[in-house]
């Protein structure tokens, strides 16, 4: 039943691949929604969804699935490519099938678990949802045919496993176990990504079939070996193979359904799935398969021996999983048809048996409250059904005849024999270890004297064990479904038809003899416990002492130390940090200047008599800047820095830039007032500090002036070098000047702002709006009062305003707004625009604050709505920007178009560019008023605290 051809494209409704993907991904959200409304139905909803997904997977396996292929990011060669091939069918059946039983089990387990911990029952929905999300990620992973897509799902499984392992988030042990799992599997996922990118770079595609074909056609080399090794390490870490195995036993801190699902059938299976999916690439890498063989055998040995030493039930199973996946990796390392077939078969047989044993462990500790084998025993009479079900599963895992597990070992021996007698012997030892610890696990719980009392168990905790146990035995008689699955998966692995035909042979062939030897050896290990126990415990202790877990711990400690150290350096001295940003920047830019082709062509430029005012104003500005730098206190600084701003504004006037000059004057005024307003809020202590020597900083000598001079020199070289470049004959500006009449404007700058480069203005206005939101959330009204009352300033100042001031302010308010409106609307004809209009209007409001105080202004004007005004302005600007797109025009296409006569009211032209400017006005006005209001509000609260 090997799938040869693919059915035609174009099937969507009847394509099981699509249904499987949709159902698997819908499962978690559906369950979350149902659980949100009716928590007690969440488990049932999850079970139904998992069942539907399992049905879709079955349909896909038996039916005729078509691949799904949708462009994702075509320019990078990425596609959403999914195909339900042999590997996909096997692993998606596992993920959804074991997922189904896990959901049934979790439905019984989670409410009890949460009740033990005193957590609300509604939290169970989270567990179901995460389990199903994991199922979806697994299904996506196994169907993905694109390396990057594969990586995305791979990482998703790691993230969800972190949440699942840390489900009991109040337990420190759970949290650190989850962290360890995500560090080990997440870091190794990066290796997978690197490998994927390396392959993508060489073959210029991320499509797995194409890459595999290209690799098959080419000679192996160092590059390919490196890639294969990286990806193999990712797979091995996920499958908890030596030396990355240490995360798995720790992950047993998770609730049992999580362990049963992730650590038998899903998460660890993803690792060997990856090895299977990329097998042709691994094969091309020199020595990678031998590496797999070594790792697999080591995991088999270490997992098996340590499983014998553990006393906690789930720990036994965890080490058993390490050992069992060691078998799978060994078989992939052995290679060939037998290896690939054996690996696929083994994964199925193991997952069915192991999840049943995990369920058993969870059910037993629910019934007795015990987790250690030493405290358990003799439960065969109390829990007969569970005993029988888990006995069947244990028999299957121990590879007894008449179970599906027998064939998994038969295939293992077969694959090992093909490679050599040594490997067959090692395989037999591994099988013997399995028999021994499985017996120890089952017998320790159900045989011997009774050591613990039991309580009633719900059916949902027992039923999955029985079902899976029976399935294991059924597979011992009707083996073809598993054999077919394995055969198809193996075919997809090694890209050749692989027949898998396991059967009972009642003859003394090597496989049978090895199986018998394994049983005998296993029985021997059980009986001779006294003699080897010391050795096994020593091995376990040595592993804890010198093993990779210790390396992980010291890595964490080291990383923490490094982070603390860097943080401490950063915190201790902000100035050092500033310097550490500035200096490399300066070096880079300096290098760029030196490398520029025009370097060295400095021109002094001509100076004429007309330039005298410019030079004088520039001189004043520079003097004010130096004075600011050496100002002794904040007030002086505020005044001289405004001097810098004003002299620059005058400079702009002489430079032929009246628009800029207008905005600069207005902005300087409002900033100076804001700055002074803030200084009032600060107590004298801060002013004393500002005037003291301490502003130089305790850890700093006298290098600041030097750094300032160096920075100035650097700016000088860059500026001079840039300005010296010869200007091109034709500039954009002349075109824009010529176009301005077409835009119904006379002021070129305004036309550029609102029309030609309107999108830039849009972005800049957004910055302002965001800054206002930042200010508003930093200084939220009301929060500050409580804070300020802790440290009162000096006695409240007497009111400084007189009746005269108030009258003038009242008289001036309306005219200011009119001027603002005029500047905005007429901005197209003359100097001015939305920016300056906004600042002028804000100055009008500021005057009211000065004259009447905050309380009065708040009563008279809706100042606390400033944020909404800015957001509304944002909306207006966005609307005028994007509305043309609705009509299929480029963004910011204004009406009326060039050449058409605009509608006029008197001398006023009605054009949409003005609407855009109104948006800008609202943003700037809202911003300025909002900032003023916050500061003024602070002052008022401050005064009140002082009185």
């Amino acid at each position: 039943m090997v799938r040869a051809g693919r059915c035609g494209e174009g099937k969507t409704v009847l394509n099981p691949t699509i249904w499987l993907l949709v159902l698997a991904f819908a499962a978690a959200p559906v369950t979350a929604v149902v659980g949100g409304m009716r928590p007690h139905l969440a488990a049932r909803a999850g079970t139904v969804m998992a069942g539907l997904a399992f049905g879709a997977a079955l349909w896909g396996w038996l039916g005729d699935p078509a691949p799904v292929d949708v462009a994702w990011a075509p320019e990078w060669g990425l596609r959403f490519a999914f195909e339900l091939d042999g590997l996909g069918a096997l692993y998606s059946l596992l993920a959804t099938g074991i997922g189904l039983t896990t959901l049934v089990y979790a439905g019984g387990y989670a409410p009890r678990h949460l009740a033990h911990q005193g957590r609300p029952a509604a939290e169970a929905t989270r567990l179901y949802g995460l389990l199903l999300l994991f199922m979806g990620a697994m299904v996506g992973l196994v169907l993905a045919q694109d390396l990057i897509l594969l990586f995305v799902f791979w990482d998703l499984t790691a993230v969800v496993s972190y949440l699942l392992i840390g489900y009991d988030r109040q337990e420190a042990e759970s949290r650190s176990a989850a962290l360890m799992a995500i560090v080990v599997t997440g870091v190794s996922a990066v290796l997978l990504l690197i490998g994927a990118l390396m392959l993508g770079a060489r073959y210029e595609t991320f499509a797995i079939p194409e890459i595999v074909a290209a690799v098959g056609a080419s000679e192996g080399d160092g590059y390919l070996t490196g890639t294969a090794a990286l990806m193999a390490v990712a797979g091995l870490a996920k499958s908890a193979q030596v030396p990355f195995h240490f995360w798995l036993p720790r992950a047993m801190a998770a609730p049992t359904p999580v362990s049963a699902y992730l650590h038998s059938a899903a998460m660890v299976a993803a690792g060997v799935f990856l090895l299977g999916r990329l097998y042709p690439i691994l094969e091309a890498g020199e020595g990678v398969r031998d590496g797999l063989l070594v790792v697999g055998l080591a995991s088999m040995g270490i997992g098996g021996v340590l499983a014998l030493t553990r006393d906690v039930m789930k720990q036994v199973l965890a080490y058993s999983t390490i050992g069992q996946y060691g078998y799978v990796v060994t078989m992939l390392g052995l290679g060939g048809e037998a290896g690939a077939a054996g690996a696929a078969f083994y994964v199925v047989a193991h997952a069915v048996a192991k999840s049943a044993l995990f369920y058993t462990a969870g059910a037993v500790s629910e019934a007795t409250g015990e987790t250690r084998l030493a405290h358990l025993g003799g439960l065969r009479r109390d829990l007969p059904l569970l005993g029988v079900g888990s006995a069947l599963a244990a028999a299957s895992l121990g590879a007894l005849p008449l179970t599906v597990g027998f064939f998994k070992d038969e295939l293992l021996f077969h694959a090992a024999l093909e490679r050599g007698a040594v490997f067959a012997g090692l395989a037999a030892v591994g099988a013997a270890l399995t028999v021994a610890y499985v017996w120890r696990f089952w017998a320790g719980i159900f045989l011997g004297p009774r050591r613990a009392a039991t309580e009633w168990l719900p059916r949902s905790l027992v039923l999955p064990v029985v079902v899976l146990g029976v399935l294991g035995v059924l597979g011992g008689f009707v083996v073809w479904p598993v054999a077919d699955l394995a055969s198809e998966a193996a075919s997809a692995t090694i890209l050749a038809t692989v027949p898998v035909d396991p059967a009972y042979h009642l003859d003394p062939r090597a496989e049978n003899l090895l199986a018998l030897a394994a049983f005998a050896l296993g029985a021997g290990i059980v009986v001779s416990r006294r003699w080897w126990e010391r050795f096994a415990l020593d091995l376990s202790r040595a592993g804890e002492r010198f093993g990779p877990a210790r390396g992980y711990a010291s890595l964490l400690v080291g990383l923490n130390g490094l982070s603390d150290g860097v943080h401490r350096i950063e915190v201790r001295d902000l100035r050092a940090r500033v310097a550490s940003v500035l200096v490399p920047c300066a070096l880079l830019v300096g290098a760029a200047v030196l490398a520029a082709p025009t370097f060295g062509e400095f021109r002094a430029g001509s100076v004429e008599w007309d330039d005298l005012p410019l030079i004088l104003v520039l001189l004043v500005g520079c003097g004010a800047a130096v004075a600011t730098a050496f100002a002794g206190d904040h007030l002086t600084m505020a005044l001289v820095v405004s001097g810098v701003g004003y002299s620059l504004a005058v400079f702009y006037v002489f430079y032929g830039a009246p628009n800029v000059a207008l905005v600069a004057v207005l902005i300087e005024t409002i900033f100076t007032l804001l700055f002074l307003g803030m200084l009032v809020l600060l107590p004298p202590r801060v002013a004393e500090f500002a005037a003291s020597r301490r502003v130089e900083g305790v850890r700093r000598g006298r290098r600041d002036p030097l750094i300032g001079v160096v920075a100035g020199l650097f700016a000088f070289v860059v500026a001079w070098g840039t300005l010296s470049r010869p200007s091109p004959a034709e500039s954009v500006a002349s075109a824009q000047i010529a176009l301005t009449p077409d835009a119904h404007a006379r002021d070129v700058v305004t036309a550029i702002l609102a029309d030609f480069r309107g999108l830039d203005t849009m972005g800049e206005a957004t910055v302002i709006a965001v800054a206002l939101i930042g200010i508003a959330s930093l200084l939220r009204r009301g929060d500050l009062v409580a804070l300020q009352s802790r440290e009162a300033p000096q006695e409240g100042r007497p009111p400084v305003t007189t009746v005269m001031t108030q009258t003038v302010a009242r008289l001036l308010f309306a005219p200011t707004l009119v001027v603002a409106a005029a500047i905005m609307v007429k901005g197209y004809a003359d100097t001015g625009d939305g920016f300056s209009a906004g600042v002028i209007a804000a100055l009008g409001v500021l005057l009211q604050y000065v004259a009447f105080g905050h309380a009065e202004v708040e009563r008279r004007l809706p100042v606390h709505r400033a944020l909404y005004l800015a957001i509304a302005g944002m909306g207006i600007a966005l609307l005028t920007t994007f509305l043309p797109a609705v009509f299929g025009r480029p963004l910011l296409t204004h009406w009326p178009p060039a050449g058409d006569e605009a509608l006029r009211i008197g001398s006023l032209e009605l054009i949409t560019a003005v609407v855009f400017d109104v948006g800008v006005f609202c943003i700037v006005f809202g911003f300025a008023v909002g900032a003023i209001d916050v500061i003024a509000h602070g002052q008022r609260a401050f005064r009140r605290a002082a009185v």
Binding site: V641, V695, D747, E764, L778, I935
Partner: protein
């Protein structure tokens, strides 16, 4: 003129850089303001032509100032105001939480906070903070409402 303009840009930038390195947060903000001024001056100076304002009706035969850099400088000025106002409110916010604008004191406060957080992890419950640093003036009795 090019030389003089570059010199102006350099003086503004150097003064700003000097202020940024101070231990006083307000000086840091003013340093940023000066650096913005320097950038605006630089943008305007980078105009390809200089002359009459670019407003219709254009004067005949005389050179027009480059309108593109003016538009850029205009938005740059407004944005630097927005940034400066945001910085000021940040500084004020820092003051209301730590009662200091001294970077050295703030660094000590942060280190102390770290130690407290580690202590909280250790003892497993929140620890009460004393809101003003050592050596600072304590709040006056009855100042709170």
């Amino acid at each position: 003129m090019i030389f003089l303009l570059s010199l102006g840009v350099a003086v503004l930038f150097g003064s700003g850089a000097f202020l940024i390195l101070k231990a006083d947060l307000i000086r840091v903000v003013i340093g940023m303001v000066l650096i913005s001024h320097s950038a605006n001056l630089f943008i305007i100076a980078a105009g390809l032509s200089r002359g009459e304002p670019p407003v219709y009706p254009l004067p005949d035969g005389r050179e027009i100032s480059d309108p593109l850099v003016q538009a850029m400088a205009l938005t740059a000025i407004v944005i630097s105001f927005g940034v400066a106002a945001l910085l000021l409110s940040l500084v004020y916010r820092v003051y209301t939480s730590h009662f200091s604008l001294d970077l050295d004191e703030l660094a000590e406060a942060e280190e102390r906070e770290e130690a407290i957080q580690e202590l909280e992890v250790f003892v497993g419950r929140p620890v009460r903070r004393v809101p003003w640093p050592e050596g600072a003036a304590p709040p006056r009795a009855g100042a709170g409402e």
